[in-house]
């Protein structure tokens, strides 16, 4: 770097970061010229733990990879185990899994756009978004008994049913949420402060999105219309009517709006599930032994494609369990998004990939 540039260290502990990551940023005046990332501050060795725990214990372990997508992890892990052992999950349980996933998606997306409002300095909007999110937090607590880790997924199905009392309660929460979500979308779409701070920054072109192989809302806001729920359907998504949200602007604003539109679609999905869900068992009591072999499973977590690979040698613990979280794919695209941005926008752009470091490092 030339003498006109200097290094601006951001992190690993920084007020604008929810979790620790180190950014070695070269700036020239107020303009970012290059970015290097250094990770590993919260590496927990969870994949080593997974090889020492049996298949049932790993359901609990994978639920603790990350709090915001804590249903996607055990659910996708269970799908990998079920793919390997040929377990057929009852239809009602498939619906219950979708409901849990979509409830978590709404809460996760509202959290991210709320933080975005906070980073623009619009703290009353941040509090408003978090207050709306509370509706889903109450729904989780009422239906599952927990506000973050639902404990809903088990191998072969689900742990808890949605019955005549929790079903109407969940529906009531969605009715309460929907108009407020629509109103929130209008604020994020039209508010002059939000527009000024977030439009046209953190740009990621379609070509760069493909090159970095980014996933989730980050990819879809750059025109890559990939949603695992449609591309490689699982559970009962083929029977559900919803639209994959896309955009072509590829900036911070379009990513936030896309997440809010996805939350609206999630409301639609949950309502359909509550209407269509057939009666029947929610799990299978007798689980067969897990045979030797290998299997993969994928799902669309709130941040994007979540991938599990399971390798079994026929024992009661996996020979290898590997998972790749959505954020893992999106970090390096920050080098494109942060290029030539202003120092004041760094935190906003980093937040726009909805980064999860506990997921990334495991």
């Amino acid at each position: 770097m030339t003498s006109t540039t200097y290094t601006l260290p951001v992190g690993p502990l920084h007020v604008a970061l929810e979790e620790p990551m180190y950014f070695d940023i070269q700036v020239e005046g107020e303009t970012v010229r290059s970015v290097e990332l250094a990770a590993g501050h919260v590496h927990r060795g969870m994949e080593a733990l997974a090889m020492q725990r049996n298949y049932f214990q790993n359901v609990t372990l994978t639920e603790r990879v990350c709090s915001l997508c804590s249903n996607s992890h055990p659910c996708t892990y269970c799908m990998a185990v079920e793919n390997l052992s040929g377990i057929l999950v009852p239809q009602r349980a498939q619906y219950l899994r979708v409901i849990a996933d979509e409830v978590k998606r709404i809460a996760s997306h509202l959290f991210n756009v709320g933080i975005m409002a906070h980073l623009t300095g619009f703290d009353s909007l941040f509090m408003h978004a978090m207050e709306i999110r509370e509706i889903m937090q109450d729904a989780k607590e009422g239906v599952y008994g927990n506000r973050m880790n639902l404990g809903q997924c088990i191998i072969s199905g689900c742990r808890r049913d949605i019955d005549d009392s929790t079903g109407p309660f969940l529906l009531g929460q969605l009715e309460l949420l929907k108009p407020q979500l629509d109103e929130l979308y209008g604020v994020f779409e039209r508010d002059p402060l939000i527009r000024t701070r977030t439009r046209g920054i953190g740009l990621l072109s379609f070509e760069a999105a493909k090159r970095h192989a980014v996933v989730g809302p980050v990819a879809r806001a750059s025109g890559v219309a990939y949603d695992v729920r449609r591309k490689a359907p699982y559970a009962v998504y083929p029977d559900l009517d919803f639209e994959v949200q896309t955009d072509t602007k590829g900036d911070v604003h379009s990513r936030a709006l896309l997440r809010l539109r996805e939350a609206v679609e999630s409301v639609k999905i949950i309502k359909q599930c509550l209407r269509q869900m057939p009666e029947g068992p929610i799990n299978i009591k007798a689980i067969p032994p897990i045979p030797p072999g290998e299997a993969v499973a994928r799902s669309e977590a709130p941040r994007g494609e979540l991938f599990y690979y399971l390798r079994s040698d026929g024992k009661d613990t996996p020979q290898r369990l590997k998972w790749r979280v959505p954020t893992y794919m999106n970090w390096e695209a920050l080098q494109d998004m942060l290029a030539n941005c202003q120092v004041a926008d760094i935190a906003l752009i980093v937040n726009s990939i909805d980064p999860c470091i506990s997921c990334t490092e495991r």
Binding site: G40, E47, A213, P238, E305, Y328, E361
Partner: protein
């Protein structure tokens, strides 16, 4: 489910390895999974370009030991690709002492982090990687840490240094387990 993805994967793999070199399984939703085995890690260099050419997306890479605690020598690496909804896993056997594999970053830029991660976890040497430094683990940690059995009880003890336990048991006899080699 996705005929086009399957056909292009079949074509790309067959032109390098010959017909019948990819096997298919499917799940209850009709999603297809292709499986390819390579006995020579150098073959990666011939299969990566045609996969990149047909627009395959590298999803992730999984390295594994033939025995999870390193009691039997040998490693393998599974490269997982997506072709518009179809997953193709290419598994490669690695040579022993030391295990080494060529980098596929010239064709798949996002292989960077994946390769650095398995290199630090299993002590696998990367050939022609543009930036082969550690990704997550500190340089002070041994290479190939995932090849070793670190007993769960040791992890759960929060084992760090003997200094910690000297403080906890200040004024008392230190239990034997605090003096283990993992605590020094």
């Amino acid at each position: 489910m996705n005929e086009q993805g399957m056909q292009s994967a079949e074509k790309a793999v067959s032109q390098v390895l010959g017909a019948g070199s990819i096997t298919w399984t499917s799940d209850v939703n009709g999603n297809f999974f292709g499986w390819v085995k390579l006995c020579d890690s150098k073959s990666l260099l011939s299969i990566a370009p045609p996969l990149a050419e047909i627009g395959a997306r590298l999803m992730t890479v999984t390295a594994y030991g033939n025995d999870k605690f390193g009691r039997i020598a040998g490693h393998g690496i599974a490269y997982h690709f997506d072709l518009d909804g179809v997953v193709v896993t290419v598994s490669v056997c690695l040579p022993d002492s030391p295990p080494r594999v060529p980098s596929i970053t010239p064709w798949f830029q996002n292989a960077d982090w994946n390769e650095r991660e398995f290199a630090e976890l299993y002590g696998i040497i990367l050939e022609d990687h543009p930036n082969p430094r550690r990704l997550f683990l500190d340089k002070g940690l041994d290479a190939a840490i995932l090849d070793r059995l670190v007993p769960l009880s040791t992890m759960m003890n929060g084992a760090s240094t003997s200094t910690l336990w000297e403080k906890v048991f200040a004024g008392k006899q230190l239990p034997e387990w605090t003096k283990g080699e993992n605590n020094s």
